[in-house]
């Protein structure tokens, strides 16, 4: 059987219209809203803090770039938001449990939340607080929650390799868990991705590779960096069953994610899902995206999967406007609580910095 045939033969194992599927659609939309609100609020907070810093320092950026300045804004580092990309993580993670592993990149808040990372500890880690996921030692670029087997890394595609190990161990020890690895189109050019896909395929590991293709690696368009154009060929090259679809086809995305997860869980090896999506925010907060052609961002906003899916479920009567409103309201109060938690939490003791290098 050729790889192409495998793709053509991808079958739906999840039936639309069943109550189970309807519940899943609702859960996915709820998660998308929760992620959207969290990141929107995070972006607002970050912008407000930086603006405050600039004002306090005569409009200079150096207010938050001077290492020795006494003046500090609470959110450390760079913030990379996944606004516009919530559907993929929400759809895939709707099939995962806490034992399943998920790894992300620098742009992973939506994935973290969809995987079940608590907002309070997530934000506290971004604030560098003792109560954060890693006690303030990892930060936004090394988020890690062993309880739900989520982590991210700002080294592009690094964790694709680590994910293999979680899949390998699951298979070897007879656990029913699987591993998923989320990367972007830019990271898919890394050698480790190809090594990992080859190894996952040749050893039939329970893996789901996900490429969130937002067409940009910071400012560089995929067309300038990806020889094949169509990233689904990344999977076909290794005989890995592959689908490519837009996150606006959210129902199909949920189904195909279910198929891929089921394939891994039932011992039938790895899959690749390529999700065409849109990065609505800058590569990092403060990035004005001037490199994007005129009108492109506006067009991308029109393609935003969240309002589209929300409108679809409303139109079908699957959810009510009151339910939708309640989701946003809840998400906002969850963020508010997380913000208060992060702000009020203590910093780690400075004299603990040398502890724990070894077990």
């Amino acid at each position: 059987m050729t790889a192409l045939n495998q793709v053509m033969r991808m079958e739906g194992t999840t039936i639309m219209g069943t109550q189970e599927f309807e519940d899943r659609r609702i859960a996915v939309l709820a998660q998308m809203i929760r992620s959207r609100v969290f990141e929107s609020r995070l972006g607002e907070e970050f912008a407000a803090q930086r603006e405050h810093a600039k004002q306090a320092h005569g409009g200079r950026n150096s207010a938050f770039e001077d290492y020795n300045s006494e003046f500090r804004i609470p959110i450390q580092g760079n913030i990379e938001l996944s606004l516009g990309q919530e559907a993929g993580p929400a759809a895939v993670c709707s099939w995962l449990n806490a034992d399943d592993y998920a790894s992300g990149t620098h742009r992973s808040h939506s994935l973290a939340l969809a995987k079940g990372v608590p907002e309070n500890e997530l934000l506290a880690e971004i604030y560098g607080k003792e109560t954060g996921l890693c006690g303030g030692r990892g930060g936004d670029f090394m988020l890690n929650d062993a309880r739900v087997n989520f982590e991210n890394s700002a080294i592009m595609a690094q964790l694709t390799g680590i994910a293999l190990g979680f899949a390998f161990a699951a298979k070897r020890t007879g656990r029913n868990s699987i591993a998923t690895s989320f990367i972007g189109d830019g990271a898919s050019n890394q050698g480790i991705v190809h090594e990992a896909m080859n190894l996952a395929a040749v050893w039939n590991l329970p893996m789901v590779f996900v490429i969130e293709d937002n067409n940009y690696a910071i400012s560089t368009e995929s067309s300038q960096t990806v020889a094949t154009g169509d990233l689904s060929r990344r999977g076909l090259a290794y005989d890995i069953p592959t689908v490519r679809l837009s996150d606006r086809e959210t129902d199909k995305l949920i189904r195909e994610a279910g198929n891929a997860v089921e394939r891994a869980r039932s011992g039938n090896g790895p899959s690749l899902i390529v999700i065409d999506t849109n990065r609505l925010s800058g590569a990092f907060e403060g990035d004005n995206q001037s490199y994007r052609p005129q009108g492109e961002l506006e067009a991308a906003a029109q393609q935003d999967a969240l309002p589209a899916y929300q409108a679809q479920l409303l139109a079908e009567g699957v959810v009510s406007q009151a339910w939708v409103d309640e989701q946003y309201e809840t998400a906002r109060s969850v963020f508010a609580e997380a913000l208060e938690f992060a702000e009020k939490s203590p910093f780690p003791r400075a004299d603990s910095a040398l502890e724990g290098l070894f077990a």
Binding site: A163, G165, I192, F358, A359
Partner: protein, 357 residues
């Protein structure tokens, strides 16, 4: 039954060894390593070995030969030439209850897997505040007996030692090779285990010296991963070395004895963390220091040891000397290689320098 007692190698390893003496059980280093792996795998089903050509073939140096037939392809896993992927795989598996031993065929190949090692394996324990740990052993071959040139010959101790979060050990004897590897597999930290190509046939190979014939007990034993050992007692000068350089240092010490110089030889065994307590005690006694390092000269292990001795305020009677590889890539041609590598003659010259006058 595990034996945790320290090796008494140093005490017995002196010139003029009685030829009639029973040397006890002799094992080449490759076989000593194999015994450690075998004991580890028998004890814990979660231990497996993963690397290129370590299964069916038994390793390019024979260091896993026979284990495949005993434990099968699920425990001795031949990996594709994808070091980054199988390093990552091992790191993930190590966080899921498994205890991988991975092999990097030659230390020179670390470049292609460096990100997995230094940005992940070394960091994740600390950066998660101990919520994650990576019990992983990385075995890798160092050294240049075949004179293979710049990319099949390095030791790179300093490259690894510069990374916080890795334990590094480098055995110089078969006894240590077994005990240190056994401890590495039992450790909950990532341990890099450097085995030297020139020592794999110890003590059966050419250049055998009396100190290489340390007895290797049949029974299982461990050694501490962070302790140096004195191989030769002396009163005039301390030579600090690791792995093959311990042997070169001992040869130089023998030559120096003819000059009336009494050299003490400290075998690091652990390159990270350094057993400074042991090193300092020796240098305080002798007041002179020669560091021998097969790695490159600049910003590395030899400089670190000298610095820490100086920082500790030990009163040196003469300036310390370093005998290292010159700071150039390792040239292929034998005369060129000889010109840049540490040799017993160069160590002897350093000993003369620090004991002059």
């Amino acid at each position: 039954m595990k034996m945790t007692a320290e090796a008494q190698v140093g005490a017995d390893a002196r010139p003029g060894l009685d030829e009639e003496r029973d040397m006890g059980r002799q094992l080449i280093m490759a076989d000593a390593m194999k015994e450690a792996l075998e004991a580890s795998m028998l004890e814990d089903e979660n231990v497996f070995v993963l690397g290129e050509d370590i299964g069916r073939m038994g390793g390019v140096a024979g260091q896993t030969r026979g284990l495949y037939n005993k434990f099968g392809p699920e425990r001795l896993i031949d990996a594709p030439i994808s070091e980054a992927a199988f390093f990552g795989l091992a790191a993930g598996a190590a966080q899921s209850g498994l205890r991988p031993v991975i092999e990097l065929m030659r230390v020179d190949f670390i470049g292609v897997a460096m990100d997995q090692l230094y940005n992940y394996i070394a960091k994740i324990g600390y950066c998660t505040g101990g919520r994650r740990r990576i019990p992983l052993t990385l075995m890798t071959q160092v050294g240049n007996p075949l004179r293979q040139g710049a990319v099949h010959a390095q030791t790179l101790y300093g490259t690894f030692a510069h990374i916080p979060g890795l334990r590094l050990v480098a055995p110089s004897t078969s006894y240590d090779a077994k005990g240190l590897l056994r401890s590495a597999v039992l450790s909950d930290d990532p341990v890099v285990y450097f085995f030297h190509a020139s020592l794999l046939a110890l003590p059966a190979g050419p250049g055998i010296e009396e100190w290489t014939g340390a007895e290797v007990p049949e029974e299982d034993y461990t050694l501490p991963l962070d302790k140096a050992v004195t191989r030769r007692e002396g009163s005039d000068v301390t030579i600090v070395a690791a792995s093959l350089m311990v042997h070169e240092a001992l040869r130089a010490a023998k030559l120096a004895e003819q000059d009336g110089v009494s050299a003490e030889v400290v075998d690091l065994r652990s390159i990270a963390p350094l057993d400074m307590e042991h090193i300092l005690a020796s240098v305080e006694k002798t007041g002179r220091l020669v560091v021998v390092d097969e790695d490159y000269r600049e910003s590395g292990l030899s400089g670190e040891i000298v610095t820490r001795v100086v920082e500790a305020g030990v009163a040196l009677r003469t300036p310390p000397e370093r005998v290292t590889r010159a700071h150039v890539p390792i040239p292929y041609s034998a005369p060129l290689d000889d010109a840049v590598r540490p040799t017993p003659e160069k160590i002897l010259a350093a000993l003369r320098q620090v004991t002059r006058g």
